[in-house]
């Protein structure tokens, strides 16, 4: 049993390291938002955050996004409760919370982040999407 326990802990350590390396990373993504999910806003880049009541880091994502949206013209932050939008969650293939999508002006998903994004990296990405 000692060997089983050690092997399982070793596997968990590898999984934890992978998790830590990926957490908060902004990854390029594709796809359109389900129609009608967001109120239309012309010429606006949307930081679309999926959250839930039991999500500890959601609050920090909210702070990062609100700060960014407040300081940049043409950027808005929309937070949706995943529980109340399970159809969209399924359609967008979201499995973990918080998930943050950067949505360009034409309603296409540009990047996707699970976890808390780095503020500077998010700002760079949003600036890039704004310029397209």
């Amino acid at each position: 049993m000692t060997i089983v326990v050690l092997a399982v802990l070793a596997a968990a350590t590898v999984a934890g390291l992978v998790y830590r390396a990926r957490y908060g990373r902004l990854r390029a993504a594709q796809g359109d938002l389900p129609p009608g999910l967001l109120p239309p806003a012309r010429d606006t880049v949307t930081l679309l955050q999926f959250s839930s009541a039991t999500c500890a880091p959601c609050r920090r994502v909210r702070a990062v996004c609100a700060d960014l949206a407040g300081g940049l013209d043409g950027v808005r932050h929309v937070e949706l409760d995943a529980d109340e939008h399970l159809d969209a969650v399924r359609e967008l293939g979201i499995w973990r919370l918080p998930t943050l999508l950067v949505v360009d002006r034409s309603g296409r998903v540009a990047t996707r982040t699970v976890g808390v994004p780095d503020q500077a990296a998010l700002r760079a990405t949003v600036t890039e999407v704004l310029a397209t």
Binding site: T2, V4, V5, L9, T54, A56, V89, L97
Partner: protein
């Protein structure tokens, strides 16, 4: 201020408390697996049950509050208590599986339950990854499917 704080009616926690509890839970499940003790798993199940109600009231939470926290700086930020309580409830399910397995002689069930609980507690303690919290949306999606 290290005592309990409630803002707007909901619980907030010093995030280091649950990490400390997860470390002790990890040790408990290692001992459960090495000794095959269903009774120790039962004691841990009681701890989880209390934690699902209020994580600060478990023996680990009290230990953190009165022995560890006073020696540390106040937390930079507090976290919402709801995810932690949910995760404790998930832990309770696995602990009960472990108890049922070991005490009924279905040792394999006991081992599997304890290994799941061990991995969850270990990832939380070492990496701050709350598996129970991550499982929340998964469960919601499956239930609604």
């Amino acid at each position: 201020m290290t005592g309990p704080q409630r803002s707007g009616g909901h619980m907030t926690l010093d995030p280091r408390g649950p990490r400390f509890s997860a470390a002790l839970t990890t040790i408990v499940f290692v001992i459960v697996l090495l000794t095959g003790s269903g009774w120790l798993a039962l004691a841990q199940a009681v701890v989880f049950a209390v934690g699902a109600y209020d994580p600060r009231l478990t023996p680990y939470g009290l230990l953190y509050r009165y022995l560890i926290a006073p020696r540390l700086a106040p937390p930079a930020e507090r976290e919402d208590g709801a995810p932690v309580r949910f995760a404790q409830a998930v832990g309770l399910i696995f602990a009960l599986l472990t108890v049922a397995g070991y005490l009924s002689g279905l040792t394999v069930l006991g081992i599997v339950g304890a290994l799941f609980a061990l991995v969850a507690a270990f990832l939380n303690a070492v990496f701050g990854l709350c598996l129970g919290c991550e499982a929340y949306l998964l469960l919601r999606r499956l239930r609604a499917a």
